[in-house]
Structures are given as C-alpha cells and as structure tokens.
C-alpha cells in the first residue's frame, strides 16, 4: 500500500534527515515508527502526505509514485488518509461540528450525509455535547479526540498519527491508543509515529526504528529499543 524505495531527504544546504530508507506497509497493518526527536519521523510522514518531495528515491501510495502525482492527485491521496497530529491541527475558527464536517465538505459529500455522519462520529468519540464549542474551549484530550473524529469521518483506509499523544496526560494517551487499536481492528491501516517507549512496548505491533535518519530495525512484533 505504501512503499519507500531507497528514499533520502536532504534539506538545504546539506542536512540529511532521512537516508536510504526502504520499507513497505501493507493494507490493514498497524506500524509504529519510533525514534528520538529529530530522527526523521515527522519528515517521513510529510513525505507520505506529499508535503515534501524526496531528494532521492521513490515513494509509492497504492502503486502510484507520489513524485509523478500532480497537485489534484496529491490532494486525493491526502483525502484518503486520516491525519492525527501532536498539535491537533484543528481549524480554530470552526466549531467542533464544523471541523469534522469540513473534511466531508472537502470530499464533496452532500449536506444530508454530513448532517447524518458528523453527529454519529462525534457521539462515538464522546464530543456530542461540545458540538458547538470552538477548539480553544476544549481540553487537550478533547482536542485530540476531535482530531481523531475528523480523521475517521470519511472512513479512510489509512490513518497517520504523528506523535498523537505528545501533549496528553497518561489517561488521554491510553484513550487515544485504544481508539487507534480499535480503528485498526476494522481493517484500517494505522501508521503511528511516537517516541513513547511505554506505548510501543504495550502494543506488540510492527515497529520501524529510526536513528539519525536511518532504519536500524524493522520488527513484526517490535519493542522500543534505541
């Protein structure tokens, strides 16, 4: 589904963030990408989302070389991926309801479908009561749950979570990971980037370990070992 072939990313003038990375993620997998801060996790995710171009090597998303994709194809790829980020990346001037609805509007879904689906997903995530609140009126945990609701609403085949628990307390961290596991059980591919040792060791899923931009380990039921 997602394939990296000898990917290197160098930021000018000469900072190599990823070096000669190759791996493949199959549909329905739960893959954790681990590494210290600055190991290249976020760059790797930005490459999958087409926010950066690799300096060398090729990236394929569903057999489509991202380098060859035009902007509308890149936008299509991004719409097929649900993203959850450490800083939530919510739309501050939109309400909870509107934040979730926006994703469906971007996809061109009809108003009736939006009115039906958004309350359902907010109910699932436990934010029904705060539908008309703005993100700034939510706690960190609630904001991250909203980000997950937004990532889920279009039923994407892939969820990318970049340090989703970075700003959360242990209780909310557990809740977010629990949700991601649940989503994965429905057949959705989950790519989780984190430097939280405890989470990884409890998950018992595939772990790709990055050190200084290189993959040093790729294990099926991996642990956090750096």
């Amino acid at each position: 589904m997602i394939k990296f072939e000898k990917v290197t990313k160098i930021y000018p003038p000469n900072t190599a963030v990823l070096q000669d990375i190759s791996f493949e993620i199959k549909e329905g997998e739960f893959v954790s990408i681990v590494g210290k801060s600055g190991a290249g996790k976020t760059t790797l995710i930005r490459l999958i989302l087409g926010l950066e171009d690799p300096t060398y090597g090729e990236i394929f998303f569903k057999n489509k070389n991202i380098r060859d994709a035009d902007s509308s194809e890149i936008q299509k790829i991004r719409r097929s991926i649900g993203g959850v980020f450490q800083d939530y990346r919510l739309l501050p001037t939109k309400t909870v309801y509107e934040n979730v609805a926006y994703i469906m509007e971007v996809e061109g879904k009809g108003n009736n479908e939006i009115k039906r689906e958004v309350p359902k997903v907010l109910e699932l995530i436990g934010l029904s009561e705060k539908m008309n609140n703005f993100p700034r009126e939510l706690s960190g945990g609630e904001q991250q749950r909203l980000a997950i609701a937004r990532a889920l609403v279009n039923h994407p085949k892939t969820i990318i979570a970049d340090e989703p628990t970075g700003n959360l307390d242990p209780y909310n961290t557990y809740e977010v990971i629990f949700l991601l596991k649940k989503i994965n059980k429905t057949g959705t591919t989950v790519i989780l980037s984190t430097h939280d040792r405890e989470i990884i060791n409890k998950l018992g899923k595939r772990v790709i370990t990055l050190v200084d931009g290189k993959i040093i380990r790729d294990e099926k039921e991996g642990r956090f070992v750096i």
Partner: protein
C-alpha cells in the same frame, strides 16, 4: 460546483463574522486608502478646473484697420474659424463695444477719460479675440495665419508677440502642474495599493496554520483560497459602500465652500457627473485589490 461555491461563500461569511477585530481593521484601512484615491480624483477635478480657468484667460487679439467694414471682419472671422480645429472661440468686438469696455474699465480714472475726451472721436479699433483649446504653439500658428498676406490688408496688428512670454509661461506652469499631479497620483496609488496588500497579508497570515491544515486534509487549492478571496471581496464591498456615502456627503457639504474658493467649480456637480467613475474607482480599488491581494497571499502559503 454550486454546492462548493455555496460552501466557500458560507466559510467566508463565518470567518468574517468570527474574526470581527481583523475584519473591522481591514475595512478601516481599505476605507482610508479608498478615500485617499477618491481625494486624488477630486484633486484632479479641481486642478483641471483651475488650469482651464487660467487658460480661458489667455487669448490673442487681431486689431483691424479703421477702414475695414464690419461685414469683412465677420467674413474673416468665419474663415479663420474654419482653418483650425484648435480654435475654441472667436469673439468680435466692434469699435463701439471697445469704447464701451474702455470707458467702463476706466470710469474711476479721470486722466484716461479726459484723454479720450480730448481725442474727440473713438480712437479704438475693432478686433477679433481668439482663444484656443491647447498649447502656446497653437497661438503662434494662429498669429502667423493672421499676419499672412491674405489678411495683412485688413489687420493693423496682432498682439501675440507682446503676450508670447506670458502665454508660454502659463502653459509651462499648467503642464508642470499636470505632470506633478500625475506623478503624485501614481505614487499615492502605489502606496495605497501596498497598504491594502499588506493589510490583507496580515489578515491571511493570521490563518497561516489553518491553511496548512486545509492542505494536509486534502482541500483543493480553490477550496482553501476561495473563502479568503470572498472575504477580500466582502471587505472591499463594505469599504466601497462606506466610501461612496462619505464621498457624497463631503462633496455635497463642501460644495458651497469650494465654490467660494474656486468660482465655477461645484464639487457636488463634479461628483454627480463622474458618479460612475467614482463607483468604478472605489469598487475596483476596494474589491479588486482586496481579492487580488488575497489570491496572491494565499497562493504563497499554498506553495510553501
């Protein structure tokens, strides 16, 4: 397509009403700059009026010999009128009218009146008073025409050579005023455009992260850009409406006072007769610049 457009429009209205502080600030800056441009347009009207008033006072006069009959002078008047499209007007002044004007002009000066009495008869000549539409060069051409052989038997003298320096000076000054107005106008227009652009840039910059998020979730460029462009148009439209009302108010209330300073110039009439130009100028500057600025600024963030 229609649904997308409706959504873009509704996002713009929501963002506009939810960012009241920024919206009001942007509209205020637009009002100030539109009024500056409007002021320039009024200034242009005033300076044109002043220039034309000064130019109207410039003329050359051809004095006819005493023996020339009135019908011959009027025939020459018609002939001259046909020779050049640059001639704005020719006024015939008979000997009697010339005397009347002289007497009226010097009625408080007994020396002149006494001199006239001593002469015993009307010493003044009939004349043709000629004004042109344009430059000093036109006056020179007409003067040469009047002094040509065809008319030398009739015309005693043409006063162009006496007035030449004054005419050239006046035209040089008016031409400099026009150039100064044009340069000043262009500079102020450029500055006003920059101010609007930077104001829009600041409002969009406030949403920089939001644009980034919209890109990540796969929104098309137009879906991201659209609400900002519509917001730019809303700012411009509101500023335009306020500026049009302000312009009408100032033109109406200042018109009598301006009439005292500049006789023959009515600000209100100028506003009414150029109403559509005012609308185009204010709408184009406000809405057009608001939309173009939004387009350019968002484009920059979309490419980042």
């Amino acid at each position: 397509m229609l649904t997308s457009f409706k959504r873009v429009f509704s996002f713009a209205i929501n963002d506009f009403s939810r960012n009241k502080g920024i919206s009001i600030a942007a509209i205020f800056v637009l009002i100030v700059t539109i009024m500056l441009v409007t002021g320039l347009f009024f200034f242009q009207g005033i300076s044109r009026n002043l220039i034309s008033q000064v130019q109207d006072k410039i003329d050359i006069t051809a004095y006819f010999k005493e023996s020339v009959l009135e019908e011959d002078i009027l025939k020459i008047k018609d002939e001259i009128l046909k020779t050049s499209p640059d001639i704005k007007g020719i006024k015939y002044i008979s000997r009697d009218e010339a005397l009347e004007i002289f007497t009226e002009k010097h009625k408080d000066n007994p020396v002149f009146l006494k001199a006239l009495e001593e002469v015993g008869q009307n010493p003044l000549w009939a004349s043709l008073n000629i004004t042109t539409t344009g430059s000093a060069f036109q006056y020179e051409q007409i003067s040469n025409l009047l002094q040509a052989d065809a008319y030398s038997a009739f015309i005693e003298r043409v006063d162009f050579s006496q007035k030449k320096d004054t005419i050239e000076k006046v035209f040089a000054i008016t031409s400099n005023i026009n150039m100064f107005g044009l340069v000043l106008g262009l500079i102020l227009f450029f500055v006003a455009s920059l101010v609007v652009f930077n104001t829009v840039k600041l409002t969009v910059e406030n949403s920089k992260d939001e644009i980034g998020t919209m890109r990540i979730v796969g929104a098309s460029d137009w879906f991201v850009r659209g609400p900002f462009i519509v917001q730019g148009a809303i700012y411009g439209l509101i500023a335009f409406a306020i500026c049009l009302l302000l312009s009408a108010f100032f033109a109406y209330s200042l018109s009598p006072k301006m009439g005292v300073i500049l006789p023959g110039f009515s600000m209100w009439q100028y506003f009414l007769s150029n109403f559509w130009i005012f609308i185009l100028l204010q709408l184009g500057f406000g809405m057009g610049l608001g939309m173009i600025s939004s387009f350019i600024v968002v484009k920059k963030y979309l490419e980042e």
